[in-house]
C-alpha cells in the first residue's frame, strides 16, 4: 500500500532528527531552568537515536538498534542522577535557575 500523500523515506527521518537535535541544542543554550535543560538534552539524545535507527535500517544492520537501546538505558541512569542533583540544589536555594548559580564565580 502506497503512502497517501507522499513516500516517506530515510531522508525524512534524518531531517526530522536533525531538527530535533537543533531544537534540543537551542533549548540547552537558551533556557535557564535546569529541568528544561535536562529535557532538551533528552531531546538531543532522542534525535541521535532516531538517526541511528534510520541508518541502521538503511544499512540492513542490527548493531545500531542495540546501540539505541543501550543509549536509552544509559540516558535513564543519567537522568536519575541529574534529577537527584537538581533536588539537592533546590533544597539549598529554592530555585533551579542556572544563571543564579554564582557561589563559585570569582
Amino acid at each position: 500500500m502506497g503512502d497517501l500523500v507522499f513516500d516517506i523515506g530515510y531522508g525524512h527521518f534524518l531531517v526530522l532528527a536533525a531538527v530535533l537535535f537543533v531544537i534540543g541544542m537551542a533549548g540547552v543554550l537558551i533556557r535557564r531552568n535546569a529541568l528544561i535543560i535536562l529535557m532538551s538534552v533528552e531531546l538531543m539524545l532522542n534525535a541521535a537515536n532516531m538517526t541511528l535507527l534510520a541508518f541502521s535500517r538503511m544499512w540492513g544492520d542490527l548493531s545500531a538498534h542495540t546501540f539505541a537501546l543501550i543509549v536509552i538505558a544509559v540516558a535513564a541512569a543519567e537522568a536519575a542522577v541529574g534529577l537527584a542533583i537538581v533536588v539537592a540544589v533546590f533544597r539549598g536555594r529554592r530555585n533551579v535557575d542556572v544563571d543564579r548559580l554564582t557561589a563559585l564565580r570569582h
Binding site: 538517526t51 543509549v71 544509559v74 542522577v81 541529574g82 540544589v89
Partner: protein, 489 residues
C-alpha cells in the same frame, strides 16, 4: 558476534574494579554509622589488584599484538593495559587520600568508594574500547560516577553547584557525542573502530563523516575541558572534594584522551579524513593552540590554588590534543608519547592534589595562595613534594613532565611537512609562561611567612601518596627508557 570465556581472562583488570566496586556499594549497607576506613582499604586493595593484573597482562603481549575481545567490542593491547594500570593506581591514590579528607571536612559517606571504583571501571573500559558502543558506555559509566562524587557533599552549596554545572555540561556533551557517532555510523555502516578506516575510505557520504567528526571534536572538547568548552572545569574542580578533583583531573581526563586515541587516532585517522580544511584535525589543532594559551593566561590570574590547577590542567589538555592531532595525521611515535604524557601528568596531578588535601583541615580548605605562606618552614616535606610535582607540570628537567613534553612535541614535529610546527612553538612558549604561576605557589611556600600556624591533615595513606608521587615523577624523568619500552614506543 561471539562470546568466548577465554576473553574474560584478558579483562581481569576491568572485572576486578567492577566487581569490587559493586561489592563496596553493597557493603556500605552493613557499615551504617561505622568507620569507613575499612571500606577504603578494600577499595585500595581492589585497585592495586587490578593494576597488578594489568601489569601482568601487559607482559604477555608483544609490541603491537592485539586481541579483539567479546565480539570485537573491546581490544587488548599494550596501550590499553598500561593505561588501565595507570587508572587503577590513580584510583588507589585517590582512595588513599580520601578517608582523611572525609573525616576532616565532614562528608563521611561510604558509598563514595563503590562509586569511585565503578567510575574507574568506566575509565578502564575506555582504555580497551574498540567500538563506538563501548566508547559511549565507558564515557557514561565514568562520568555518571564522577557527577555523583562531585555532588556527595549534599549540604554544601558550592558542592551542589559544581555538580549541577558539571552534570548539565556533561549531558550536553553526551548529546553531541551520540549525534556525531550516529552520523559517522551513517557514512560508514559500522560501529567498530577497527573496521572504520576501511569503511570510511569507501563511503559515498564524506559530508556525514566531516559533520560527525566535528560533532565528536565538540563532545570530546567538553570532556577534556578544551577552550572554548572549558567553562565548567574551574567550577567543578573547585566545588568537588579535593580527592575527587584529583580523580577528575588525572583519571577522567586521561580516560577521555584514551578514548580520543582510539576514535581520532585509529578510527578517524589515516590519509584522508583528518586532512584539509574540512578534516577534523584542522579545528582540533586550533582548539589545542587556544586551549594551551588561554588555560595558561587565565591560570596566571587565579588566587585559588584549586582553580589555578584547574586552568593548568586545561592547558595540559591542549598539549595532549596536539598529540592526538599528531597521531591522526600519521606520526608513528605519537601514541607512545601520549601514553607517556598521561602517566607523567596523572602521577604529578595526584601528588599535587594530595598536598592540597594535606594543607587543609577541620573544615577549612586553605585554598588561597596566601594561605600557603611558610609551608616550607613548618612542613618541608609537603612543600618539597608540591615543588617537584609543579616543576613536572611546568616541564622542567629532570622530571617526568619535561620528557613527556619533549617526546610529545617531537612526535608532533614528525608529522608530514611540519604541519604542526606552529602549534609546537606555541606549546613551548606556553611552557615558559606556565613556570611563572607554578613558581608563585613555590615562592609562597618558601619565601613568605605564615600568617597562622598550620594544622594539616595527617594520615598514613595521604603521606604515602605525597611521598610516592614525587619519587615516581623523578623516576619517570630519570629513566624514561624503561617506561617507553613498557608502552612499546
Amino acid at each position: 558476534m561471539s562470546f568466548e570465556a577465554g576473553d574474560l581472562g584478558w579483562l581481569v583488570p576491568y572485572l576486578i574494579l567492577a566487581v569490587v566496586g559493586m561489592v563496596l556499594v553493597l557493603a556500605e549497607a552493613f557499615f551504617k554509622g561505622r568507620d569507613h576506613t575499612s571500606l577504603a582499604g578494600l577499595a585500595v586493595a581492589g585497585c592495586v589488584a587490578s593494576g597488578v593484573a594489568s601489569i601482568v597482562l601487559v607482559r604477555q603481549l608483544a609490541g603491537s599484538e592485539q586481541h579483539m575481545l567479546l565480539g570485537s567490542m573491546l581490544v587488548a593491547d599494550r596501550t590499553s593495559y598500561v593505561l588501565s594500570a595507570l587508572f587503577a593506581f590513580t584510583t588507589a591514590a585517590c582512595a588513599l587520600i580520601s578517608p582523611a579528607h572525609q573525616k576532616e571536612h565532614g562528608w563521611k559517606i561510604g558509598e563514595y568508594y563503590g562509586v569511585l571504583l565503578l567510575s574507574a571501571s568506566g575509565c578502564v573500559m575506555l582504555a580497551h574500547a574498540a567500538n563506538m558502543v563501548t566508547v559511549f558506555l565507558g564515557i557514561e559509566t565514568m562520568s555518571i560516577g564522577v557527577y555523583v562524587m562531585t555532588a556527595m557533599r549534599r549540604r554544601s552549596r558550592r558542592g551542589n553547584e559544581a555538580a549541577m554545572k558539571y552534570f548539565l555540561i556533561g549531558a550536553f556533551a553526551t548529546g553531541f557525542l551520540m549525534y556525531g557517532m550516529a552520523l559517522i555510523y551513517g557514512a560508514s555502516g559500522t560501529l567498530s573502530l577497527v573496521e572504520m578506516p576501511a569503511a570510511i575510505a569507501r563511503t559515498h557520504n564524506p559530508g556525514l563523516v566531516i559533520a560527525g567528526g566535528f560533532l565528536l571534536v565538540v563532545a570530546f572538547g567538553f570532556k577534556v575541558a578544551a577552550v572554548p568548552f572549558h567553562m565548567w572545569a574551574p567550577d567543578a574542580y573547585e566545588g568537588a572534594p579535593t580527592p575527587v578533583t584529583g580523580f577528575m583531573a588525572a583519571a577522567v581526563k586521561s580516560a577521555a584522551i584514551a578514548a580520543m586515541i582510539r576514535v581520532f587516532g585509529t578510527a578517524l585517522g589515516g590519509d584522508i579524513t583528518p586532512f584539509g580544511a574540512l578534516g577534523w584535525a584542522s579545528p582540533l589543532v586550533v582548539i589545542a593552540a587556544i586551549t594551551i594559551t588561554i588555560g595558561n593566561i587565565t591560570a596566571v590570574r587565579q588566587d585559588n590554588v584549586k582553580r589555578m590547577l584547574a586552568y593548568s590542567s586545561i592547558s595540559h589538555a591542549g598539549v595532549l590534543l596536539v598529540g592526538v592531532c599528531a597521531m591522526g595525521l600519521g606520526s608513528s611515535s605519537a601514541q607512545a608519547s601520549l601514553v607517556y604524557y598521561l602517566i607523567a601528568y596523572s602521577v604529578a596531578t595526584m601528588g599535587v592534589f594530595a598536598v592540597v588535601s594535606y594543607v587543609g583541615s577541620r573544615g577549612r580548605e586553605r585554598l588561597l595562595v596566601d594561605d600557603w605562606g611558610g609551608l616550607a618552614s613548618q612542613h618541608p616535606g609537603a612543600a618539597l613534594a608540591m615543588t617537584i610535582c609543579l616543576l613536572s607540570f611546568g616541564g622542567m628537567p629532570p622530571t617526568g613532565g619535561f620528557f613527556a613534553k619533549f617526546y610529545l612535541f617531537k612526535s608532533a614535529m614528525d608529522v608530514y611537512s611540519g604541519q604542526l610546527l606552529w602549534v609546537v612553538v606555541i606549546g613551548v612558549v606556553n611552557s615558559a609562561i606556565s613556570i611563572y604561576y607554578y613558581l608563585r605557589i613555590v615562592t609562597a611556600m618558601y619565601f613568605r611567612d605564615s600568617t597562622q600556624p598550620m594544622a594539616p591533615t595527617r594520615s598514613a595513606g595521604l603521606l604515602f601518596v605525597m611521598a610516592a608521587c614525587p619519587l615516581l615523577v623523578l623516576e619517570l624523568g630519570l629513566m624514561p627508557g624503561f617506561w617507553l619500552k613498557l608502552i612499546g614506543g
